[in-house]
């Protein structure tokens, strides 16, 4: 959907008169080759947003301010209709719209009901839909994830929340053997339209177990799709797309992005689960990133632009499968690739991406692919050590400078 949205261009995309039929858009989301190359429109989390009133977002604010730079003129976005909300509210809005649309959609997890979710993504939903549709479960990740799968096999469309993504390691067997493989082992008879989501990534001094980079763990499970949201716009769109998908989808949210603010359309929209998002078109180097690192990259991009570089930034969004079309087109233009991720260096998303690019676009590369991943260490508690564990904007600037020499 995003691609179509982009293809339409900024002026029409946010026109209030342009009423989107979500179903139509969903099913017509087969990519249009010509459309994708057209002007790129980005709904941005721009620097003008004021985070000051929200102390929880303080750290995020430092990182995010002015993070999204784009060559496209976004004045249309700010003047047209739409509403401004935080990323967690966007997720909630997507969830609520889908629960309104389809009574089979239900939520289960620890503290999703009365408490409203550890990051308030399900706030107020239990009051509206009742305790059975927004089910507070005992602390039993393996069992309630399995329960979600059993419910999905028999007609419901559950969204299972991991209170912290790391806790889903306790449900790894269910996610792998049942979520991922059961459609296949049942000869295609049973589908598992489940969404597994929750806060993940390296937060602010949460310690090793609560600062997991799980993408690498989940990526080799067959039969599962993985997406990572990074803006309120795509958070809502991906949430809705994931709920509607017949495939099991893991939706990665980042603890430091929940308070990101953005204006999103009032009209219903959904994103395409398989498509990457062009964040900033450029000519000199392709920077592939996702989730929180998008903002480190955009911070670096600002410096790079001042230094005379013109980087192209792509939020890959779909961590499995990769959108090789968007990625490939960019590489064919820039001939240089920098990957910036928060995932582990060994066996991470970056490693898989490197392999996929080498395999498919080697001939277009003028320089070896550079991959900046977080360090292969348990996420340290100490602020200084934690900062050195994940990629910082300065490293990105240096890497691009080297790459473009």
């Amino acid at each position: 959907m995003a691609a179509i949205f982009q293809g339409l261009g900024a002026a029409t995309a946010l026109s209030p008169s342009n009423c989107f039929d979500s179903n139509k858009l969903h099913y017509s989301s087969r990519r249009s080759l010509s459309g994708r190359k057209a002007s790129f429109f980005v709904v941005r989390s721009d620097g003008s947003v004021n985070f000051a009133s929200n102390s929880r977002a303080h750290r995020a604010q430092q990182v995010i301010t002015n993070a999204v730079a784009t060559k496209a003129d976004n004045s249309a976005a700010s003047t047209k209709a739409g509403h401004e909300l935080l990323l967690f509210e966007a997720l909630r809005e997507g969830l609520e719209e889908e629960m309104d649309r389809d009574p089979h959609v239900c939520v289960m997890g620890e503290d999703v009901g009365h408490y409203g979710g550890s990051y308030k993504v399900t706030r107020g939903l239990a009051d509206k839909y009742g305790d059975l549709r927004v089910l507070d479960t005992p602390i039993a990740e393996n069992s309630f994830t399995g329960m979600g799968i059993g419910a999905a096999m028999t007609g419901l469309r559950p969204i299972v929340e991991g209170m912290n993504m790391g806790f889903l390691l306790l449900a790894f067997n269910q996610i792998s053997n049942n979520c991922g493989m059961l459609h296949y082992t049942s000869g295609g008879q049973f589908t598992i339209p489940i969404v597994i989501r929750g806060p993940g990534g390296v937060g602010r001094q949460l310690g090793a177990e609560h600062s997991q980079r799980l993408e690498s763990y989940f990526q080799s499970i067959p039969g599962i799709q993985m997406v990572a949201c990074s803006t309120p716009y795509n958070a809502k769109g991906l949430m809705k797309a994931a709920i509607r998908s017949e495939n099991p989808v893991i939706l990665f949210e980042h603890v430091l992005l929940y308070n990101l603010k953005e204006k999103i359309p009032d009209e219903e929209y959904i994103c395409n689960l398989e498509e990457a998002e062009m964040v900033r078109p450029g000519e000199h180097v392709t920077i592939l990133t996702y989730s929180r690192m998008r903002y480190h990259v955009m911070q670096a991009a600002k410096t790079l632009v001042n230094k005379g570089y013109d980087p192209e930034v792509i939020d890959i969004r779909s961590l499995k499968p990769f959108d090789l079309h968007t990625i490939g087109n960019s590489i064919k233009k820039t001939h240089r690739v920098l990957i910036v991720e928060e995932c582990m260096r060994t066996g991470g998303i970056g490693a898989s991406l490197t392999a996929a690019i080498t395999e498919n676009f080697h001939d277009y590369l003028d320089a070896p692919i550079v991959c900046l991943s977080s360090q292969d260490v348990p996420t340290p508690y100490a602020g200084t050590l934690e900062e050195w564990t994940v990629v910082q904007p300065a490293q990105i600037v240096t890497a691009v400078e080297k790459l473009c020499q």
Binding site: R31, H104, G148, G150, T185, S186, G187, Q189, F190
Partner: protein, 434 residues
Amino acid sequence: MSSSTFFSSSSINTIKSSCFTTENHSSIIPTSSFLGSTHKLRFNPLTANSPTRFIKNRQTHIVAVSDVKQKQLKSTPFVGNLLITKEEGLELYEDMILGRTFEDMCAQMYYRGKMFGFVHLYNGQEAVSTGFIKLLKQQDCVVSTYRDHVHALSKGVPAREVMSELFGKTTGCVRGQGGSMHMFSKEHNLIGGFAFIGEGIPIATGTAFTSKYNRDVLKQADCDHVTLAFFGDGTCNNGQFFECLNMAALWKLPIVFVVENNLWAIGMSHERATSDPEIWKKGPAFGMPGVHVDGMDVLKVREVAKEAVERARRGDGPTLIECETYRFRGHSLADPDELRDPSEKAHYAARDPITALKKYMIENKLANEGELKAIEKKIDELVEEAVEFADASPHPDRSQLLQNVFADPKGFGIGPDGRYRCEDPKFTQGTAHV
């Protein structure tokens, strides 16, 4: 009290009395002595004085035929003192013969190189599958384990489809993609064979949750579907068992937890693995009835099952039932079965559930030898036909390779050319690189 009170007509009484079974076993008369394992913990000299309580303390609270008979006499005098009608008896007999004959044939075919991998046979435990599953409606769900062939058959999956699956053929019930431990049938609501210990229990809890959701949220008042979760004694030491007992009781889900306690988790004796070997006692601990039944007697199993299934159907919540049974073969066909004591095997072989039912039916003039022989012959032919069908069926074609990985094949993503990979002709040929 105890198990017999489980049949109390008032559901409230049932819960209460069953909750207190542990305090009230004075009135129960053990009618059978299940010895369980004859192996005791081998204590080293340092712990020579430790209490060897394992087998002594096993109090066998088994539903006695006499209990059931008395209840039957009171409530349904018109069937005399018989537990089943002729038709029911013949159906049970046929299902058990099918299970036994099918599994024996599997062993033959395995040794003949027609099927591969781990094949776990059900011989000896037929009374459990038949006693429970033959009570169900098609919409009711069955969740099984790696030892799932016979559960599939009892639930109505055609023998030829199960055999063909074991042969790895495309006509198998899951197109050759699952194998012995992964039998599924959406049509028959066989929710699956789950090959890891315990992982099926949460799934079963989920299907029971759907029943409740359909009734309470979607207002499908007539939705009274029940789920049966089968698993073994070994699983009862796994966290998922306890977690799901808790959730099922908490939300009063329409589920029956059926423990097929065959006393052995491969080579680990139940007595050596479990601090309190009476699994049924764990039901009351979670606020649900726990029942211990002779799993070698299909009629006793059926009576207990009937009450538990009806209870779940009424919306009165889950039940835990421990069926004490025995497998006549090794854990799988790869198991040399050298550990179990021959006298233990002989003890249970003498209590063959099929022989017992046959004896009951003939003694009670529910059927004559000829009728039962006819069933045996019919099943022999059916199983022969299943083998022929499986043998003649084609192996999966290459084009099948990439199917069913994703329900929506767009999950394979977008290729460099901008098209979804699943639109590539090589994808449907199974030769695409994904």
